[in-house]
């Protein structure tokens, strides 16, 4: 499965809820304000484990928009919109944590 999260983990509980419901084979894609959770900050530990396993992606265009590309945590993989489409194809059902 592909889980998308489009809100900051500082503002909403959607990333936390996603992490409660993700199985061992699924991945997370951070989009829109969700990319704030890709930056090194007090909430980084939420995603650190999955990122080490290579299971966290962030949308490059949204990272660039917010001026935080130099802050993105190690092991978080950046993809563009074409990469977003590839993830949707590869990982089956998409769950959006809106």
């Amino acid at each position: 499965m592909l889980h998308t999260v489009n809100k900051s983990s500082f503002e909403r509980n959607s990333l936390k809820s996603c992490l409660n419901a993700i199985d061992d084979t699924s991945v997370i894609l951070l989009i829109e304000d969700g990319v704030i959770s890709a930056a090194n900050n007090e909430n980084s530990s939420m995603l650190a484990g999955l990122a080490t396993e290579g299971r966290v992606f962030a949308l490059q265009e949204d990272v660039d928009a917010r001026g935080i590309s130099s802050k993105v945590a190690d092991n978080i993989k950046l993809v563009d919109y074409a990469g977003f489409v590839d993830l949707v194809e590869e990982y089956g059902t998409t769950v959006s944590w809106v």
Binding site: M1, N13, S14, S17, N20, A21, I22, D23, T25, S26, T93, T94, V95, S96, W97, V98
Partner: protein, 134 residues
């Protein structure tokens, strides 16, 4: 048409936003399509099922009563997060007693709501073909 597993993921409280109501409107339509329909209620979504809602004072209609009708359309898989209930000081007793009649068991009345752990919810979610988020 082929049969797919559809999950309706409900995470918001009722009335503060329209998502709960308009999710229910889709589920009502879904009943006509002969698919395998499940509903999950997590986070503040559990408040959608709380008994005794009375939105008269805020000028809205009480759409929660519609949940009672879903059993008649074979929509009877309501998965409620145990952790979400507990965090909110709620239990199954606070929720509407939704039931359905099991044709294969002499029309016995059975509960539609299953309180499940996040681990169980994760497994159920992983089996879905389509997930509609509200």
């Amino acid at each position: 048409m082929s049969t797919k597993k559809f999950m309706y993921l409900n995470r918001r409280a009722p009335y503060g936003s329209v998502y709960a109501l308009e999710s229910l409107e889709v589920v009502l339509i879904a009943a006509a399509f002969d698919q395998d329909v499940s509903l999950s209620f997590i986070d503040d979504g559990v408040y959608q099922l709380v008994e005794g809602q009375n939105p008269e004072g805020i000028g809205m209609k009480n759409f929660s009563k519609t949940f009672h009708a879903l059993g008649d359309y074979d929509i009877n898989q309501f998965y409620v997060s145990a952790e979400s209930l507990e965090e909110r000081g709620l239990s199954l007793d606070d929720l509407m007693p939704l039931v359905w009649e099991d044709e294969d068991d002499d029309w016995a009345e059975k509960p539609s709501i299953k309180v499940v752990s996040n681990v169980e919810l994760t497994k159920i979610l992983s089996e879905q073909d389509v997930c509609l988020s509200f």
